[in-house]
């Protein structure tokens, strides 16, 4: 009898563990008050700017048309059905490049108070590439009248996968660790993906179709600037910027 009771308890514990859907539980965010980068001195700010342009050399592969037939709602709702791997402006500027200060900063920076919105609209993620600070709130919204799942697949941060079956649903998530980049995907609609760069400071930008970027309010100093593109990888450059000055940094990615 004692053995039977033991095995019943073990079975119930196993079932309870299996039924405890982790995907419904937001990851615990442990962020020190007043900043997400630890207990160091407050990071300096300034009046310097690093700006530049990301250029594409060569001819980018033509955007492909995404077949959304697996979900009739997507076919109806989609306003853009072209792949976003290469967003190239008229002058050869490369969009959707995440540019950030990789090295050169010290101290901890307060978490930005504003919420970054990642929207699922027309069965696409908007924006496709963006950045947040550690501990900053990301609001993920489903604007589509269909089901999406939001599946973040980080290497360092906690993975999560949550369903949003109803239009208008929204949820908030934070990331606890620096990670460039954290991919998002929708397993329902395999073409949907997005990337977020998670940093412990506010000095980052994402290029628009013209390839331009500005990283403002930096303290004077020497920095390593990194540019990340989902298909073309990363490039880094060193830059020195004086107090109140603007330093130009340009990157050229080559395709083909």
């Amino acid at each position: 009898m004692r053995h039977r009771t033991f095995w019943i308890l073990v079975s119930l514990a196993a079932i309870a563990a299996a039924c405890n859907s982790r995907s419904d539980v937001p990851p615990v965010s442990i962020v020190p008050e007043g900043g997400g980068a630890g207990a160091n001195a407050v990071g300096a700010t300034g009046t310097s700017t690093v700006s530049g342009t990301i250029m594409l050399e060569g001819t980018a592969p033509a955007a492909e048309i995404i077949r959304m037939n697996s979900d009739p709602v997507c076919v109806k709702e989609a306003t853009n059905t072209e792949t976003e791997y290469y967003v190239v402006g008229d002058g050869g500027g490369l969009g959707n490049v995440f540019v950030y200060v990789k090295e050169g900063l010290s101290g901890s920076y307060p978490v930005a108070a504003d919420t970054v919105v990642l929207d699922q609209q027309g069965c696409r993620y908007t924006p496709h590439v963006f950045g947040v600070q550690v501990g900053q709130t990301v609001q993920i919204t489903n604007s589509d009248p269909t089901l999406h799942n939001i599946h973040a697949t980080p290497a360092v941060n906690a993975e999560f996968n949550t369903g949003q079956p109803i239009q208008g649903m929204s949820m908030e998530r934070t990331f606890d660790e620096v990670e460039v980049m954290v991919p998002f995907k929708c397993d329902v609609h395999g073409w949907m993906n997005a990337y977020v760069g998670v940093l412990d400071h506010p000095y980052f930008a994402t290029t628009g179709p013209d390839g331009g970027f500005d990283i403002a309010n930096l303290p004077a100093g020497n920095y390593v600037i990194e540019a990340w593109h989902e298909m073309l990888g990363v490039q880094t450059q060193n830059v020195t910027v004086g107090d109140g000055a603007t330093a130009e940094v340009s990157f050229t990615f080559t395709v083909g």
Partner: protein, 327 residues
């Protein structure tokens, strides 16, 4: 007993359909399209509307529905066998099938809730194949050909065939586990060319993925050699034994098809239909090799009175063909 056998055939067909559905889930990358379990997007799974089975949900939720059907069929199988089967070891296999399907369901749920950890997903794939082999075995054990075989002793024996027939399903199952490991660790295209590996017989560089992939290719050679040796042995030494020649020839043909599908999977960049067919044909290959092995070792299995067939312990026990048995 005849109706039980037909029922088991239906369970076999349903289980194969379930394996195809599972193969589609992984081939389409839909394993996490339904993030919760056992519910589906917060809805009781059987109440989830068909109209919302879009995109990856179609594959993942469809897999769960078919799995539920197989689970119910397996409950029926275990109960039916328990009530009607005089052979104790067959009743035991019926309950084993039920236990396997329960564990399989839990593994499927756990792998979803924990974002497809490779060990769990590989176990899920491996147990699926074992379950399929088990219900195929049960269908064989309840067939009139098996129960009515007159036994008798092949005095010459054939120890070589006895060993080959056992080695084949073991090797095939090992190969299936390697394939599942490759599939669930993303190593399916770790070696992108075929039949060479990076243009050479042996990969010039190694990583975990390349090693797993290459091991699967080497495993295919081992299985092909074993199956060829088995088929040749059957055809040359037991040509009159149709209950052996049929599965032996089918097994050889399946291995040829399976190697072709494996090559096509790589060359097509893991095209969904081809990739899934590779999984399904793997299951049928395992089942066929098991049927051959069981028939070769027919004498190991006692009848309802607990009697083993004469001469059962040495080599190939004589099993009358289906027509002989019915006569």
């Amino acid at each position: 007993m005849r109706w039980l056998h037909y029922y088991l055939r239906f369970v076999v067909a349903s289980s194969l359909l379930l394996i195809v559905a599972g193969g589609l889930v992984t081939s389409t990358g839909s394993g996490l399209a339904v993030p919760d379990w056992p519910n589906t997007y917060g809805t009781f799974m059987f109440a989830f509307p068909f109209s919302k089975m879009v995109g990856g949900i179609f594959y993942e939720h469809g897999h769960r529905l078919i799995a539920s059907l197989v689970g119910l069929l397996t409950i029926g199988l275990a109960v039916w066998i328990a009530r009607s089967e005089p052979r104790g070891w067959v009743r035991g296999l019926g309950w084993t099938a039920l236990a396997a399907v329960v564990v399989q369901g839990l593994l499927g749920g756990i792998t979803v809730l924990y974002f497809l950890p490779a060990p769990i997903s590989i176990s899920h794939a491996g147990l699926a194949q074992l379950f399929f082999a088990l219900v195929v075995g049960l269908a064989l054990f309840t067939s009139s050909g098996w129960r009515g075989s007159r036994g008798g002793l092949d005095r010459r024996g054939d120890d070589g065939l006895a060993r080959l027939a056992l080695a084949a399903p073991v090797a095939i199952y090992g190969q299936i586990l390697l394939g599942a490991t490759m599939r669930h660790t993303g190593a399916g295209l770790a070696i992108p060319d075929f039949p060479l590996a990076f243009g050479r017989l042996v990969p010039p560089e190694w990583s975990t993925g390349i090693a797993i992939h290459f091991a699967h290719r080497v495993g295919a050679l081992v299985v092909a050699a074993l199956v060829a040796a088995t088929a040749v042995r059957v055809l040359f030494h037991h040509r009159e034994r149709h209950e052996l020649t049929r599965p032996a020839l089918l097994l050889a043909a399946l291995v040829v098809v399976q190697v072709g599908l494996g090559a096509w999977t790589v060359l097509s960049g893991r095209q969904v239909a081809v990739n899934t067919a590779h999984v399904a044909v793997g299951a049928v290959t395992l089942a066929t090799s098991l049927v051959l092995a069981l028939r070769v070792h027919r004498g190991w299995f006692p009848d309802a009175a607990g009697r083993r067939r004469p001469g059962a312990t040495s080599g190939v026990a004589s099993l009358g063909s289906g027509s002989e048995a019915r006569a």
